[in-house]
Amino acid sequence: MQIESPNILLIVVAAVVMVLYVFTNSAVLVWVERKVSAHIQRRPGPFEVGPFGLLQTAIDGLKLMAKQLIIPGKADKRLFMLAPVLSFVPPIAALLTVPFGKVVQVQNLDIGILFILSLAALNVLAILIAGWASANKYSLFGAVRSVAQNIAYEIPLLLSLLTAVLWMGTLNLGELVDAQGGFWFVFTPFGFVAFLIYFVTGMAETNRAPFDLPEAESELTAGFHTEYSGMGFGLFFLGEYTNMILVSAIATSLFLGGYNLPFVTLNGEGVLWELIRVLIFLAKAYFLIFVMIWMRWTFPRVRFDQLLNLCWKVLIPFSLVNLAAAAIWIKAVGG
């Protein structure tokens, strides 16, 4: 493929749109999380501001922006300020390569998956910096936990994604979706196992309960963001929800056939078809997020060593075997 000079204007516009999308997405997700958790716990959740409390998160955002940023006296100020930005920007950049539709994709990179993974790995750096710079023991604990957890979970994550890449033979996200068409990868046994492993590791990567050890509220008060207030905390919050949408977007495009319906490939042209495709993609992604939220409000938190045990003793062996089996299958049948 010939290297084209990127359309700077398009990318700038897309980035702005993406930032706006990320903000709305987080606002909606916070609202969804609060509503889902509330109904699971048999209470109404926010219902005061706006219809069904929809504007509650907007108001909360305003409140966060109005709050004073407190920097602890012994904190490393520059790093302290850098960490929230670092947790917020990479997922947005990663989202630029996600194929929401056939056309609605800012930049179709040939190494799309790699690009996303390398950006997602920055998340752990942000947490490490936050924990270190806070000069707080709880934060440090959170940071250390986060590093161990994320590095361990990167392996099964990569292995499960590798299965999909191996199966379809490309790293390009758009082509991955097209390769599946209506027959989603998750319908194959290898795809199913890989999807489950990916989903679990994805939750761990985004520090969602039951793997929310870095911020384990009952143990470390708030973990790595103990000392953050106002928008510093807000950016971590945004980063977490952006990571969630990123993780489920990858799952959707690699395992759940992207914007295709089950056993139906949508190849229509035109704006309407594109809109339908985007909606289908988002529906799948948000369903996965809903499951994540649902799990968060059901399960207790795992312990640190159990988390690593699960990774090394279950997820990695399973994903390795799965990858090998898929490779053999391709060689024997598909090849």
């Binding site: 716990q41 384990a216 509220e217 009952s218 143990e219 059901t298 207790p300 938190r301 312990r303």
Partner: protein, 371 residues
Amino acid sequence: MIQKPDPTQETLVLNMGPQHPSTHGVLRVVLHCDGEYVLDAEPVIGYGHRMHELIGEVRDHRGFYANVGRMDYGGALSFGHGHILAVERMLPDLEVPERAEYLRVITTELNRVASHLLWFGAFLLDLGAFTPILYSFDDREAILDLLEHVTGARLTFSYMRVGGVCADVDKDWCDGVLAFVKRMRDRIPMYHKLVSGNIIFRKRVEDVGLITRDMALKYGCTGPVIRGSGIPYDVRRSEPYSIYPELDFDIPTSERCDCMGRYDVRWAEIEQSLRIIEQAIAKLPEGPVMAEKVPKVIKAKGEVYQAVEAARGSLGYYIACDGSTSPYRMKIRVPSYSNLSILKELTRGILLSDLVAVMGSFDLVIPEIDR
């Protein structure tokens, strides 16, 4: 020259508390950590000490019974029960009507169920599950509604009186209690489905915080902690008081000795309490709820020790009287105090998360320790 500390020998001192989500109050635990491992955990108590013992020595017997409920907000009625039984022991002429004793037991057992439900929610909250507490509070609210109907309060019930109880119940209330017992029995399987069987939960509590039989005796642990170590010591059976000898119930124990054992014991206790409530409602005799001749001024001499089984273990009131209207010395032996003192030995070399689980399994109520 200042010697440089050896980084391999350095430990991290972590102050867990006095404000911390899982210390359930103003308890501070000074941790010496090696990474995630706790080398030493020293509880520091006394942040909320109100010197109830001294108040008890200043006030007369009647003036003190509003205070006892303040010590243990979870199971206030057993604290009241113990105090009243101790005072009544000093008044041998006083005959407490049977109906009053039954009401005391019914309300106390209801309160015990409420207390265990509170513990259940808080324990799961410590382990990071946010939903069970709201389900258990749903049931707890039903109990508090019932108790409010009879005692007039929802948390610090001052229900027990010297010579009886302060309010009578009617038929409707008894039906309400029976309806609650049925409802609770229907709900218990749900709790077990949601939590007890959950693999994450089991992994978190199994083989964590092992208290052997010997340790439990040496440290004076009581209540579900000692029963979770396989010793069937329950004051209601070992040292029967009130109408407990007439009731048929078991003392659940567990040989597991770990947090799971304590968890199992508490759930079994809820079921036994429901049994007690059911029997007591069936047997509830007619009659007055207050003794006829209660001395207006209680002047006693001598010393008594009265133990009752509170929700968290054996609660003892030691009252020494010199013949005046107020006690000369009042000592309140609270169960959580002894239960917590084992923490230092128990948590040597365990993970930080396990420490939280162990403290949660003790069902600590800090105002009771800092009485």
